[in-house]
């Protein structure tokens, strides 16, 4: 390129960028819509982001929902589904860039509720619940609203569902029957071993203990952040002393046992890099695994896998922060119609017709009713298969034919049986240690899966991991967590 041609490049670039800048600034002023409106004739439209694999018939069902809600509360909804794996990242970007939305799914495990509440992604709902959400207060277990407060305020409406978390060992019943194995005495990992041994010796094609890289053995801790080393002992209700649980003797013992299982071939050699055990579940080539349970969970599992699955508890039912915040609907901070959004959430959590329409689709198309509160899926339901737990009050949904009549009573009993974990109600604010957290997270990612799946020898790797965690600043995070917990304890 010759000299003379280069000369005009500069002014041209400047000119163009200046005009871009001006137009970018100019177009930003939006009309601020009034908050009134929203009648049956002229309903307001709420944008609603929910989690789950996008379904073919969402538009059809949405039209049906809108007919009902426009009439009832002067609202229509535009449902946008984002798949489980994408939800967290997509919502983070959309919230950060101020994408218009009114209602959105949030939880302890996808689009983190506490952190995003603190960052200002959600509207504070204390007053709105009083003025537009009275039905919610009556319909759901008060422990949910109480347990999901962040710094004393509610930022989302939790779904009424199982409150505690309990882990269970699940078994492929066909194999249990074939070898006449008894699971009534199984609870700890040790008690599982003889069963795994039988399977390993007789069924070379079956994975005795199906686990993926997310597996974590049950240890007696309440974690400050899930899958991070900072924790307090479950029975330490008074002192609430924060420790690095990887340094505790129980951890070493359990991980040694995992390593033994791994060496004995009870665990897949690829466990540390396997992201899901779904294909084992589909093929039925597994014997045991561990999963979170709820009343009558065996029915759900057997139905979804197409072969019988039975389970026995692996631990106690504890109420953790993350189990309380397992599924919630928040109102976005930039919502133009917060009152209307709350009206809708109120209806979703109290109205049987709306809740089941959202959940199971249109009666006669996606399902048929067998009696007042029992329904059966029709073939079309494959085009509208929604995650029930993620869409508000679960206890309003119709029962399946296999479900016992007292299903929801059992849920309530289960909820009452749960023991509150020591840190229930405490939410860690990581903003002062975000540098250290990023570094610790990297160390954790490096060691977690190999250690927890038993792939490596803990006697060699656990000290290595602890040393690296220390170097990454874990002690500073523990100190910060301890001081926040002490302040929280004092305020109680």
């Amino acid at each position: 390129m010759s000299k003379s041609k280069k000369k005009w490049l500069m002014p041209l670039t400047l000119l163009l960028s200046a005009s871009m800048l001006l137009s970018a600034c100019g177009g930003n002023k939006e009309e601020s819509a009034g908050n009134g409106g929203g009648t049956a004739e002229k309903p307001v439209e709420l944008i609603w982001y929910t989690i789950g694999t996008p379904q073919k018939d969402v538009d059809k069902v949405e039209a049906e929902i809108n007919k009902y809600t426009a009439e009832k509360i002067g609202v229509t909804v535009d449902m946008k589904m984002i798949d489980f794996g994408d939800y967290n990242q997509k919502m983070q970007v959309m919230a950060a860039s101020g994408e218009p939305m009114d209602i959105l799914f949030t939880s302890s495990w996808a689009f983190d509720y506490v952190q995003n509440a603190r960052k200002g992604a959600f509207m504070e709902l204390d007053d709105l619940i009083e003025t537009h959400g009275q039905g919610i207060k009556d319909a759901i277990d008060p422990a949910f609203l109480e347990g999901s407060k962040v710094d004393g305020h509610n930022y989302a409406i939790p779904a009424n569902k199982e409150l505690p978390a309990q882990e269970a060992w699940r078994f492929n019943k066909n194999l249990l029957d074939k070898y006449n194995l008894d699971i009534s005495n199984v609870k700890s990992m040790e008690s599982l071993e003889p069963l795994l041994k039988t399977i390993k010796e007789n069924e070379p094609n079956v994975v005795p203990l199906a686990i993926s890289k997310d597996f974590g053995p049950l240890l007696p801790f309440d974690y400050i952040i899930e899958k991070m080393p900072m924790a307090v002992y479950l029975d330490d209700k008074d002192d609430l002393k924060v420790v690095n649980f990887l340094e505790m003797p129980e951890t070493m013992e359990t991980l040694k046992l995992m390593n033994k299982f791994y060496k004995a071939g009870y665990i897949s050699p690829e466990a540390a890099t396997t992201t899901s055990t779904q294909d084992l579940m589909t093929s039925g080539n597994w014997f045991a695994d561990r999963a979170a349970t709820q009343p009558f969970a065996d029915n759900l599992w057997s139905q979804s896998y197409g072969y019988p699955v039975v389970s026995t508890p692996a631990g106690d039912a504890n109420i953790f922060n993350w189990s309380v915040m397992g599924s919630m609907q928040a109102i976005s901070a930039n919502s133009k119609y917060p009152e209307k959004a709350m009206d809708f959430l109120n209806l979703l959590n109290t109205d049987v017709y709306l809740r089941n329409l959202v959940d199971s689709g249109i009666e006669g198309v996606h399902y048929k009713k067998l009696s007042e509160n029992v329904m059966e899926n029709l073939p079309e339901s494959k085009n509208y298969d929604m995650p029930t737990f993620a869409l508000g009050n679960v206890m309003l949904t119709y029962l399946n034919p296999e479900d016992p009549e007292n299903k929801w009573e059992e849920f309530k009993k289960f909820n009452e049986s749960g023991k509150p974990a020591p840190l229930l109600g405490f939410n860690f604010d990581p903003s002062k240690v975000s540098t250290e957290l990023a570094a610790v997270n990297n160390v954790k990612e490096e060691f977690w899966a190999p250690l927890m799946t038993g792939t490596v020898n803990p006697e060699e790797f656990l000290p290595k991991a602890n040393q690296k965690l220390k170097a990454a600043g874990l002690d500073k995070i523990i100190a910060e967590a301890q001081s926040q917990i002490d302040a929280w304890k004092a305020s109680k």
């Binding site: 003379s4 000369k7 983070q92 101020g98 540390a272 890099t273 190999p450 792939t455 990454a472």
Partner: protein
């Protein structure tokens, strides 16, 4: 005033050319220059505001260089920088040599139909997503069902836990990266070879030069400007690692981090739970600034020795 008049006169004389670069210019302005204002986030603790993106930026608190700290706070800083730069360095050198060699071989194949088949075959991996390439690699390297372990079995050797043996991975990653990118780059060079004046080769043949002498004296010198430009551009990206290669292909295996952790994966792993936009922006800015400096320096060096081939 004269300068402006001159400017518009130039604009008129070159309007056809300018019109041709217009789409590219717009693209760069929209997607490269406009977002640059966002680098401001690197110096802020980003918090959402209900009035949209700009208000969020304005209302967020200034935190100085706080967001950059996590990149340098641990020993990992050394490992990730070393891995990123060394891998990219190897990729650039080997990629250049192999691409040019392949392009020359392809151009020398007499049967043009066959040459097209080879070319397409080598081009294909470029279009595969890293997730798929990751599964290809897995079918070779899986512990119990992988092809490599079966071959080892034939020779009576013990199977290897490929996904927890760090020492093999620098080779695997280099091979896979080259397999995926060389086909594409060689097509670029092939196009340049096709553009070389045929009379040069005819003249050389009349003078009795053999194939090797022709390549050395005509093809390579004619390719030199392109080679320099592409290499300079690649150097600008030396601080950016290919995320898919280093995350998907080793299946995010923790035991391999010492040889697979690069700046991009480190940032992803550090921030995926907290989602601090300020910190990820800081990392991006750091990579860009280093890349910018490297391009300027290497361009300066090129200009010093060979003014013709420098970028600017």
């Amino acid at each position: 005033m004269r300068a402006i008049g001159q400017f518009f006169k130039n604009l008129m004389t070159n309007k056809a050319m300018l019109f041709m670069v217009l789409p590219g210019t717009l693209w760069f302005l929209l997607f490269s220059y406009l977002p640059m204002f966002g680098t401001i986030i690197a110096f802020k603790e980003y918090r959402f505001s209900r009035d949209g993106f700009w208000a969020s930026i304005v209302n967020s608190k200034w935190v100085g260089l706080q967001n950059f700290k996590f990149l340098f706070s641990t020993n990992d800083a050394y490992i990730i920088t070393r891995n990123t730069v060394l891998y990219n360095f190897v990729f650039i050198i080997l990629g250049l040599v192999l691409s040019v060699a392949l392009a020359i071989v392809l151009s020398e194949i007499v049967n043009k139909k066959l040459a097209k088949v080879y070319q397409t075959g080598m081009f294909l991996p470029y279009f595969l997503s890293w997730v798929i390439v990751g599964y290809f690699a897995f079918s070779f390297l899986s512990m119990d069902k992988g092809m490599l372990n079966q071959i080892l079995g034939w020779f009576g050797m013990e199977p290897v836990q490929w996904y927890s043996e760090a020492k093999y991975w620098p080779i695997f990653l280099t091979l896979i990266s080259l397999w995926k990118s060389v086909g594409y780059n060689s097509v670029v060079y092939l196009a340049a070879i096709m553009g070389i004046d045929k009379s040069l080769y005819e003249a050389a043949m009349i003078d009795g030069a053999n194939k090797w002498q022709q390549i050395k004296a005509i093809t390579l010198p004619m390719l030199k400007p392109l080679m320099t430009i592409l290499t300079l551009l690649a150097i600008g990206k030396i601080f950016y690692a290919d995320f898919g290669l280093f995350y998907q292909v080793p299946r995010d295996s923790g035991t391999l981090y010492s040889v697979t952790n690069v700046i991009d994966t480190y940032v992803y792993r550090g921030l995926k739970t907290t989602g601090e936009i300020g910190m990820s922006t800081a990392a991006g800015l750091y990579q860009s600034v280093v890349g910018f400096i490297l391009v300027m320096v290497s361009n300066y060096i090129v200009r010093k020795y060979d003014k013709e081939n420098a970028l600017f």
